[in-house]
Symmetry: C2
Subunit: 337 residues, 2 copies
């Protein structure tokens, strides 16, 4: 008999997620009540924000409660439906969680049907037009940074799921785009395959010197995924009236709940009249259809590439999240249970 396998959050991680922070259980599959559907999970999106949700800090959604299934974006196929808009066989995307056969409330889990004609497999949906990837890059760059031709844009985690799309959209908009990534292989990918103007290897090179070399007219725009020392080097080189889009601060996530200092060059916000702005993609829901259409169009024109790092096996979820936060992956991290 097929069982629903789940991971629950039983203890808040202190630093890196430990296996002992989680509970691993098998349950009988539950028939859906009114408003619910029961799905078979086909692909889970492994995102840095999962680690944020595990910490009891002020954040944009409530943290995962202890004992609850770990929250995660994913795609599944409906097996049983008690909701009028869904039928068995439909492909759905939403907050499926770390579960193989969950029964979920459609509204509470933000479940939406994927159009039957959508020409993308699960992995490409999650890596190219997903909320945590394409839509995040789209709104965070276009709305907050407002890139103009000829401006210099710096994006860190430039080989990552979001950064790679931000860099390419920056090029589409006519910017000089300088990436920052860890290691020569990621940097080669960023310049040769994604087409960015330069990429600085923060693991082997001096980020400040690299920015001096590759941003000779200073930095107008920054799309920030990391925080910490890299953001400090960027702030020092921002031009007057520059904009910094705060998408993520992944460097801090394992320290969530501890006192980690903000950027030492915070005063540059004043000296260079910077606008530093955070955003959460879900605030832009009304414009998702338009953004999705534009992302798909760019992809079909070959101007927006994505690669996926797809892991196999439900039991690998904790290790996969750890590797994501260590940067030990290449492209959008996904897991097929």
């Amino acid at each position: 008999m097929t069982m629903n396998r789940i991971f629950t959050l039983d203890r808040r991680p202190d630093g890196e997620l430990a296996d002992s922070d989680l509970g691993s259980h098998e349950q009988a599959i539950t028939a859906p009540a009114a408003g619910q559907i029961q799905i078979r999970t086909t692909c889970l999106s492994i995102d840095p924000t999962i680690r944020v949700w595990m910490s009891d800090i002020p954040q944009y959604m409530p943290p995962i409660a202890l004992g609850e299934v770990v929250r995660s974006l994913g795609i599944g196929v409906v097996e049983q439906s008690a909701h009028p808009d869904f039928a068995a066989g439909d492909r759905v995307v939403g907050l499926i969680g770390w579960a193989t056969h969950p029964t979920l409330d459609v509204a509470m889990s933000f479940l939406a049907k994927l159009p039957a004609e959508l020409p993308l497999p699960d992995a490409k949906v999650l890596s190219l037009i997903g909320m945590t990837t394409g839509l995040t890059a789209y709104f965070g760059l276009l709305d907050i940074c407002d890139p103009r031709p000829g401006q210099t844009l710096v994006v860190d985690a430039a080989a990552g799921a979001v950064g790679a799309l931000v860099g390419q959209i920056g090029k589409i908009k006519g910017c000089r785009v300088v990436g920052i990534a860890g290691g020569p292989e990621k940097c080669r990918y960023v310049t040769e395959e994604l087409g960015l103007d330069a990429c600085i290897d923060y693991k082997n090179d001096d980020v400040g010197k690299g920015l001096d070399e590759h941003c000779p007219r200073g930095i107008d725009l920054c799309f920030e995924n990391v925080g910490g020392a890299i953001l400090d080097e960027v702030l020092l080189r921002m031009n007057n009236n520059g904009r910094v889009s705060i998408c993520g601060l992944i460097g801090d996530y394992n320290a969530a709940g501890k006192r980690t200092p903000g950027p030492y060059n915070f005063g540059m916000i004043l000296m260079r009249r910077l606008r530093v702005e955070g955003f959460i993609v879900s605030d832009h829901g009304a414009r998702f259809p338009q953004a999705t259409a534009e992302l798909l169009q760019w992809a079909q024109q070959g101007r927006l590439k994505s690669i996926e790092d797809v892991r196999q096996g439900f039991s690998q979820l904790p290790e996969t999240l750890r590797q994501l936060l260590r940067g030990e992956k290449h492209g959008k991290m996904l897991l097929v249970p």
Copy 2:
């Protein structure tokens, strides 16, 4: 024979300004060359930014060069003119510097004539409509925070030259305004005389608890003069899509050049989708006439009060600046040489 007394910056201060960082000299008064005027200084504006200019850090103007007269805003009366737009007896405002009888290039020192009909003495000009006071409050609050009726605005250094005006303009715009100031006397002034809704005494009370009590619906807007621990408490309580106007970070100025951490709650910019923006008043020069007129109108209507802390004696300049940065003053600090 009357001499021109000056203070030069001979060494960059390490922490608080020391008398030995400055040179004190007397020089013969110099006849102006073409484009210059020679003035008698009547009032100097003692502003936190003078301490920033003394440090060799990235900033919005070049730092004061070693050996140069200390840069300072002030008012004077023209004694000799070699500029077609100025005549002896004109009252002028601009970057006069720490000098009693300087000879200055009109353009380089941003000197402008005050209208003969302006109904304000020097001290009121500098405290109510000066670049470093009224105009700073005006643009920093209205342009960056965009206050709306019913929003909650927090302003620190609320009894200070800028903060007092920001708080009153916030009330004019219909906000609930909560000030933060040091000591019961300043707090009493802020609520009873300036009319703010509440004031938290950061020297004697817990700022976080005070904000919880006086901002029951959270904080929508923050006008930041101080930085450090106070900003951290504010950030923790900001509402979604809140705005933070970075006017000053006076808490850091004596540490300029050292590594001081940014706000520990920097991540709240992301979690609450905040817009944190710095500004420099001189960027808004085109709109100074309109802003000045509106500030004067509010003052004439009794809706905008200012008080001045006027010190006497040119030799007191270094100690006056030290006291400003320690908060040992009440109102706009000025010095009559």
